[in-house]
């Protein structure tokens, strides 16, 4: 190993690695693309939000005794949350890549 070669460069790399310098953008990995993967993700996101919404609705109904109404309300909210999840999938919140 030649110790002196590229010392400046290695120092810079080490400083970046330790967070002393500004990290360079663009090194972010994303989720692997591909039509199958995206399709499956969209499906899972939609269904899971719907399931959580329905679950909350049913639990609140049993607790408060308002049989069908909160279930219906949270069914709609769950669907909306599912759409929101799918929207977030392609347009993430804070400018990071998915």
């Amino acid at each position: 190993m030649n110790e002196r070669d590229g010392f400046e460069q290695r120092l810079r790399e080490a400083r970046t690695r330790q967070g002393l310098d500004k990290p360079s953008e663009g090194g972010k990995q994303g989720l692997p693309p591909g039509p199958m993967g995206i399709g499956f993700r969209v499906g899972v996101e939609l269904v899971s939000a719907l399931v959580v919404g329905i679950g909350i609705g049913l639990l609140l109904d049993r607790w408060l005794g308002t049989k069908p109404w909160l279930f219906l309300l949270f069914f709609v909210a769950g669907s909306a949350a599912g759409i929101l999840n799918v929207y977030r999938l392609f347009n993430p919140r804070s400018g990071r890549k998915i």
């Binding site: 090194g27 972010k28 990995q29 939000a49 399931v51 919404g53 949270f74 599912g82 919140r93 998915i98």
Partner: protein, 251 residues
């Protein structure tokens, strides 16, 4: 085992059985738990063995340990940033546990514990509880502004907040279902085509020839399953770090 009678029994591979007969039965220790312990031991052995020599030119084990470490390190730092380094042990443990569980499950006679929703959902709940605690610890009560995007009209608050909360709570569900469904689907497909091999192959000389077709499919499927096993561990790890990113940076 595969094709008793004429029915294809693809789901019995996911049944839990007591480990070591009566000993396992009395303490409720199934083969699933045994495989988790085995994975734990394998990861520990890999990391201890891999870092024991600390050679400048790494051997095979050391190269494996180092590259898995660096892979997850890159992922965590790339997603969360430099504040994310303190969460690296958490993401690394999750990644290695799921990766080894998925890969071990592909071996004959092995059990895939990641094909149980109970296991994956417990992992996902762990992730979401940790993420919420991290967010609360860093931002305090300001964390709850996460559920109401800045600049939205105040009038819409009763509409937006429940939807955002449901969206937040759906994360563990989608995280666990994704891993669980991928593992179950892969193993069921392998079993179904393996059953075809046995069923067609038992139909005489012509059947023996015909059985090569599902056998070839299974060869391809095993390769595909290797990909899925690594990919799902990666997806779990990267989604965990995306959630941690949201917790650290909030907006």
């Amino acid at each position: 085992m595969a094709a008793e009678g004429k029915a294809i029994d693809a789901l019995s591979q996911f049944e839990l059985a007591p480990f070591l007969g009566t000993i396992g039965e009395s303490v409720r220790f199934s083969q699933s738990n045994a495989h988790m312990l085995l994975v734990f031991g394998l990861i520990t052995a890999l990391m201890i063995w891999g870092t024991a020599k600390r050679a400048i030119i790494p051997g095979r084990i050391q190269a494996l340990a180092e590259s898995s470490y660096e892979f997850v390190h890159e992922l965590v730092v790339g997603q969360i940033g430099h504040e994310g380094k303190r969460y690296f042990p958490f993401v690394f443990s999750l990644f290695m546990f799921i990766l080894f569980g998925n890969l071990l499950g592909l071996l004959p006679y092995a059990f895939t514990f990641t094909s149980h929703i109970a296991v994956t959902f417990a992992l996902a709940m762990l992730v979401i509880v940790v993420v919420t605690i991290v967010a609360l610890a860093i931002h305090g009560l300001h964390f709850f502004s996460y559920f109401f995007p800045e600049g939205a009209p105040k009038l819409l608050a009763p509409l937006i907040i429940p939807i955002e909360i449901i969206s937040y709570l759906s994360r563990p569900v989608s995280l666990s279902v994704r891993l669980f469904a991928n593992m179950v689907a892969g193993h069921v497909m392998l079993k179904v085509f393996a059953s075809f091999v046995v069923m067609i192959g038992s139909a005489g000389a012509l059947g023996f020839l015909g059985a090569t077709l599902p056998l070839a499919v299974n060869v391809v499927l095993i390769g595909f399953e290797l990909l899925v096993a690594c990919l799902q561990a990666y997806v779990f790890a990267i989604l965990t770090s995306i959630y941690l990113h949201d917790a650290v940076h909030l907006h």
